[in-house]
């Protein structure tokens, strides 16, 4: 199940709401643009049109497995960038993927915990088709389009990442 939005405050925020109101695991929330995208420590994730922003409701898992999955998500993204686009990504554990020392993707796993684990969301921001970044970000951020000189297919990349995560979670939770 994929919930698509043109513009949203944050895909993770929406995914959290859906998870708490009983949405199924592996429900995906994606938006063409986020007005309040965020990373760890409530840092801003600049999310203009053209990028790939999505969040996945994860199945309830052991907390250690969720931690491993966060790290494996960086691996899954890096592998796609290498295999599909011949790029040389570098993983900056646990949350970021860099190309030529500039951030191209960020991952944030959030858990909601009461007396027990209520919901887990993994949010992924991948700078795919952005053509430029604001001054304060241009030296530390890049996009696939800027690296490759051509547009990439957001939907195809998202499907590959989701499939990769499903495969990895199967392996670690066995």
């Amino acid at each position: 199940m994929i919930e698509k939005f043109e513009k949203i405050n944050s895909t993770s925020q929406k995914a959290k709401e859906l998870a708490l109101s009983g949405a199924e695991p592996w429900t995906v929330v994606t938006a063409q643009e986020q007005t309040a995208g965020y990373g760890k420590d409530e840092s801003v994730w600049f999310s203009p049109k053209g990028g790939l922003y999505f969040s996945i409701i994860l199945p309830k898992s052991q907390i250690e497995d969720l931690q491993t999955l966060t790290i494996l998500a960086a691996f899954v993204i890096s592998k796609i960038l290498k295999d599909e686009f011949n790029l040389e990504p570098l993983i900056k554990l646990p949350n970021d993927v860099l190309i030529n020392q500039k951030k191209v993707a960020g991952i944030l796993t959030e858990n909601i915990i009461g007396k027990e684990l209520k919901a887990s969301i993994i949010g992924i921001g991948l700078n795919t088709n952005a053509e430029s970044f604001p001054k304060d970000l241009e030296n530390i951020t890049t996009s696939l389009k800027m690296e490759l000189g051509k547009e990439v297919d957001n939907e195809k990349i998202m499907d590959q990442i989701i499939k990769g995560l499903k495969d990895q979670l199967k392996t670690i939770s066995q």
Binding site: K60, Q67, N95, L108, E110, I113, L117
Partner: protein, 137 residues
């Protein structure tokens, strides 16, 4: 559910039944074992001696009500943000603080409604699993 398994030529008769919510009885060749599930969906063995009578259970519910006014951390980590202040009214499901643990951000939510009586932790403080974070009244 009853089944038979064979391990190294020896066969065992296994009967599995859910005798009450979150308590599974497994009978293995006449020997009974009880299992329960923790918050991370891990099964653990329950000692039948600790299994309590209905009256004890009612007492436990009462003390659980008292315990529900305490918000404790289920995991170890560092407090990154406290979202409530002393005197605030909280509702079930409301975020009270954020804890960075195991490379993830964990929103700790209130399970019951109440007024924040005491906040026992500060931002950037390391806390252990089970530590008291917030007291409601």
């Amino acid at each position: 559910m009853e089944t038979k398994i064979t391990i190294k030529d020896k066969s065992y008769r296994i009967e599995i039944s859910e005798i009450e919510a979150n308590l599974i009885k497994v009978v293995l060749d006449g020997q009974e074992y009880l299992f329960s599930q923790n918050e991370f969906q891990e099964l653990f063995l329950v000692d039948p001696k600790t299994k309590t009578s209905q009256a004890d259970k009612e007492l436990q519910v009462l003390s659980a009500d008292l315990a529900a006014k305490e918000i404790r951390s289920p995991i170890a980590g560092v407090i990154s943000n406290v979202s409530v202040q002393k005197g605030d009214q909280v509702k079930p499901g409301q975020k009270v603080l954020t804890l960075i643990a195991m490379k993830m951000e964990n929103e700790i939510i209130a399970e019951t409604s109440g007024t924040v009586k005491e906040i026992r932790v500060k931002e950037n403080q390391f806390i252990n699993s089970g530590d008291l974070l917030i007291l409601l009244k």
